[in-house]
């Protein structure tokens, strides 16, 4: 009981998830429906996958604002490569090298960001703010402002396929959620992720190779952004150069809602998963009950602030606290 309570105060987001779940279930009969839950999972998978990587990077004490732009490049690369003449004879196998190249391009961008953060010592916020602009520029250079279209419908069929009634994209998301959870909570790399974010100097002094460690986490988020870009492009059967604009804001929102500290050193995948679900359910629920578009923005913004406030209240030490 007590530990359950502690779990809740540490992840107040799940309280919130429960509240909106009940609210929407009562508001519209279309919400509480297996098919709708599948939808929510698929819809959140894009932001969700990136949020997994963002959790690692933020626990590390860094942040990645460039994920929205990063996502667009692998999406374009994948759809483009698939259409290359070299793979014309490969049939559906042409998807394989395309996806691999796409993932690689995302990982490379992550590595570049991480390497700059490591070697220059410039704050990740600044490095990735620049990258957010620059990488979008690269995407425009690469695509020449054009959208790419996947002529192979197998590619988009994948997005709408399901295994045992569960959409494949949802499965991909859930599998990676579990994998990242294990990585973070059970492995040495995970422990070091917390240590580096908690007290970077101490981590350096303790002999953790902080630089390469951070690069790896940036590569992981690059991988996840690429994966998200590719799954998104399977849903579209196409890639557009504007893909993923403002995603970084929603990803960060989800991760912070999930209880990860912006200063690093604390956070969890379970919390992030809750944060992602909360945003997904809010969006979906408001669509279903027909909240006018203008009010959706107002509601989402207010809720974000409210959850932050709630979190603060739950974690207060009460009247004895020093007032700074």
């Amino acid at each position: 009981m007590q530990s359950g309570l502690r779990l809740l105060t540490r992840n107040p987001i799940w309280v919130f998830v429960a509240i909106i779940f009940i609210f929407f279930s009562l508001s519209t009969e279309r919400f509480f429906d297996i098919a709708n839950f599948r939808n929510i999972l698929v819809q959140t998978s894009t932001i969700g996958l990136i949020a997994l990587g963002m959790t690692l990077v933020m626990i590390n004490g860094n942040i990645d604002l460039s994920v929205g732009a990063t996502l667009a490049l692998p999406a374009s690369v994948t759809v483009d490569v698939m259409g290359w003449g070299a793979f014309a004879e490969w049939g559906n196998w042409q998807i394989l090298p395309a996806v691999l190249l796409g993932l690689l391009s995302g990982i490379a961008i992550g590595a570049l960001n991480g390497f700059i953060v490591w070697k220059t010592g410039v704050d990740a916020f600044i490095v990735t703010l620049g990258a957010m602009l620059g990488i979008r520029g690269l995407v425009f250079v690469y695509t020449q402002e054009q959208s790419f279209f996947a002529t192979n419908f197998t590619y988009s069929d994948f997005a709408y396929s399901a295994v045992l009634g569960v959409p494949t994209l949802a499965i991909v998301f859930l599998v990676f959620t579990v994998a990242t959870h294990i990585l973070l909570s059970r492995t040495v790399h995970g422990s070091n992720t917390y240590a580096v974010g908690d007290n970077r100097e101490a981590a350096v002094n303790a002999g953790i190779r902080v630089g390469p460690h951070m690069v790896i986490n940036f590569m992981i988020i690059g991988f996840f952004a690429a994966l998200a870009g590719i799954t998104l492009s399977t849903q579209m059967g196409a890639a557009t150069p504007n893909l993923g604009r403002e995603f970084e804001l929603w990803v960060i929102t989800a991760v912070v809602l999930g209880g990860t500290k912006l200063t690093g050193g604390a956070g969890s995948i379970i919390g992030t998963f809750g944060g992602v679900l909360a945003i997904g359910m809010l969006r979906n629920g408001m669509n279903l009950i027909g909240v006018p578009a203008f009010y959706v923005l107002l509601v989402l913004g207010s809720i974000l602030i409210f959850v932050l406030f709630l979190d603060k209240q739950l974690n207060r030490q009460g009247e004895e606290e020093i007032r700074l």
Binding site: N39, M236, N242, F294
Partner: protein
């Protein structure tokens, strides 16, 4: 099959609130739906984000609406979502800007303006404007600049394409000095135009992807005292463009009514549900408008 009870029409729009056209469209659509007693509309807005539009398509499919109207954020990227709707036996009507050809098999109809044609019409206006008195428009010469819509969006791409292709045919003597995006934004295009004005000593004409940007260009030209040297031509006539035209500062534009656009889309959608025959490309008229013929048109409400 016939629908005796209410017809539910789901619409997912591109980006309401980004400009008046889309907002007016939305209002007209809702009004038109309310005007029919057996129609119920579920109105969604994708906020310009493809991913969100796809999610909205899924939500509409999930709600099993009778017909979906989509204003694509991107003509190619929504094809699979449209396909999924058609596989769920929900007919889809595309509105305002068309989807890629690959998706034609999955839609019941397209209702909207012909953006390529609009670009072409603007090109013709440009030739006329640059021709000296009595000169044949095809003989016209001059140097012009182009301010395009937001890069990567279908409407912007189609208008630019239509304009450039037709201009090369209709008056090969007119040269496009440079093209820069104004992102459908008046302030942005004002800044772009300011740069053009510094860069080029002589600009004979400006083509803007819509009047909102066109008026931005006009503002800049006025501030530099150079309105006299150039002909300004836009598209999607806005109230501000109409007024500028009346004041003689703006040469011409393309008249496109969001109300027509919305009503056309809704009617097409209802007809599709009722199993009526509709043309596959259901364009509505978008005539040229200049100072000479502007009396024939009522001032746009947006």
């Amino acid at each position: 099959e016939s629908h005796t009870d209410t017809i539910t029409v789901g619409i997912t729009q591109n980006n309401v609130g980004v400009d008046s056209y889309q907002t007016t469209y939305e209002q007209a659509f809702i009004e038109a739906a309310e005007g029919m007693d057996n129609v119920e509309a579920v109105v969604l807005d994708a906020g310009g984000d493809v991913a969100r539009q796809i999610a909205q398509m899924q939500d509409l499919i999930q709600q099993q609406v009778d017909v979906i109207v989509i204003w694509p954020t991107n003509g190619q990227a929504v094809v699979p979502a449209v396909r999924a709707a058609s596989q769920a036996n929900i007919p889809v009507v595309v509105t305002n800007s068309n989807i890629a050809e690959e998706g034609f098999d999955f839609i019941a109809s397209f209702s909207g303006p012909n953006n390529v044609q609009q670009g072409a019409s603007s090109a013709e206006l440009m030739c006329e404007a640059l021709a000296d008195d009595g000169q044949d428009p095809s003989e016209a010469t001059g140097q012009i600049v182009q301010i395009s819509g937001q890069p990567g969006y279908t409407t912007a791409i189609e208008r630019q394409e239509g304009f450039e292709d037709r201009l090369a045919e209709a008056c090969p003597g007119v040269e496009i000095l440079e093209t820069q995006p104004g992102d459908w934004n008046r302030e942005k295009s004002q800044r772009v135009m300011e740069n053009f004005l510094v860069k080029y000593d002589q600009i004979d004409g400006v083509y803007s992807g819509d009047d909102n940007m066109g008026v931005g260009a006009l503002n800049a030209a006025k501030a530099a005292d150079r309105v006299g040297e150039m002909a300004l031509i836009g598209a999607t006539n806005f109230a501000v463009g109409y007024e500028a035209m009346a004041a003689g500062e703006y040469y011409g534009s393309i008249y496109q009514s969001p109300v027509d656009d919305a009503q056309n889309a809704l009617k097409t959608a209802i007809a599709v549900v009722n199993g009526e025959e509709v043309p596959f490309l259901n364009y509505f008229e978008t005539p040229k408008i200049t100072r000479d013929n502007m009396d024939e048109f009522s001032k746009p409400v947006f």
